[in-house]
């Protein structure tokens, strides 16, 4: 998994590529926490290059969303691949996030 971040005027985009599981979710958690610790609580999670995400990744997203909202921000999801979106649906996570099918709309959310 690779993680890159790009900061815009009103939000930061975190882009992860590859596979998120119990091993790699640690790096993803660190990336979210780093931003949240630095008061960058408006976060777009660009999922376009993700191939796989287990519940370990969902746990990261849930805790990031809680912290972001506590800080007056939000985590929104962009370009969630279809199979990962199905898992989000099955775990009841869909209502907890705004999903965008393209990055521009997600950045424009903030």
């Amino acid at each position: 998994m690779e993680i890159t971040t790009k900061t815009y005027k009103h939000c930061t985009v975190i882009k992860a590529s590859g596979r998120v599981d119990s091993e790699t979710s640690v790096a993803l958690r660190n990336a979210f926490e780093h931003l949240l610790d630095h008061d960058q609580a408006n976060i777009v999670f660009d999922m376009s290059a993700l191939e796989y995400m287990s519940s370990a990744g969902f746990r990261v997203l849930l805790s990031a969303q809680k912290t972001a909202k506590e800080k007056g921000g939000e985590v929104v999801l962009a370009m969630t691949p279809d199979l990962i979106a199905e898992s989000l649906e099955l775990t009841g996570f869909k209502p907890l996030f705004t999903l965008y099918d393209n990055l521009t709309d997600a950045v424009g959310h903030f």
Binding site: S22, Y52, S54, S55, F58, L62, L83, S87, T91
Partner: protein
């Protein structure tokens, strides 16, 4: 019956997924089916690593065989016993701040598979995950 034994460390999850993905392809599953099999096994194996062995290591043996209606995968470990069929369903609808992240793994495992069998014996725990090909449901 192909089988793979790995140390119970998260670094080995991707090997386990690749191993059962091959079985799923041989069983004739499409992209969604292969993904489901990998996800179910990943969740089961991650639980064995984290809860069964409490992160202290041990061995996990995974084997698969083509089943008349699809694929049967068995995970063997010698950690603490836990029948996933007895794990209560997770919280799927409370609000963000009330939402608990627990139980998602077993829930996804159940959703991805058609049948889950569990036996705990003196030789260890045997978890069998069975998935049918869609056309034969």
């Amino acid at each position: 019956m192909p089988s793979l034994t790995v140390e119970a460390r998260p670094q080995n999850l991707k090997k386990l997924r690749a191993f059962v993905e091959e079985g799923a392809r041989q069983a004739g599953f499409d992209r969604r089916g292969v993904y489901a099999v990998a996800l179910a096994v990943d969740e089961a194996a991650a639980n064995i690593m984290e809860h069964g062995y409490r992160g202290a290591g041990g061995l996990i043996t995974c084997s698969w065989e083509l089943h008349p209606r699809g694929l049967a995968i068995t995970l063997h470990d010698t950690g603490q016993a836990c029948d996933p069929n007895n794990v209560p369903p997770p919280d799927l609808d409370s609000g963000l701040f009330e939402r608990k992240a627990g139980g998602l793994g077993v829930h996804l495992m159940r959703q991805m598979m058609d049948e889950i069998r569990y036996r705990s014996t003196a030789e260890g725990n045997f978890l069998t995950l069975i998935k049918h090909r869609p056309q034969e449901h």
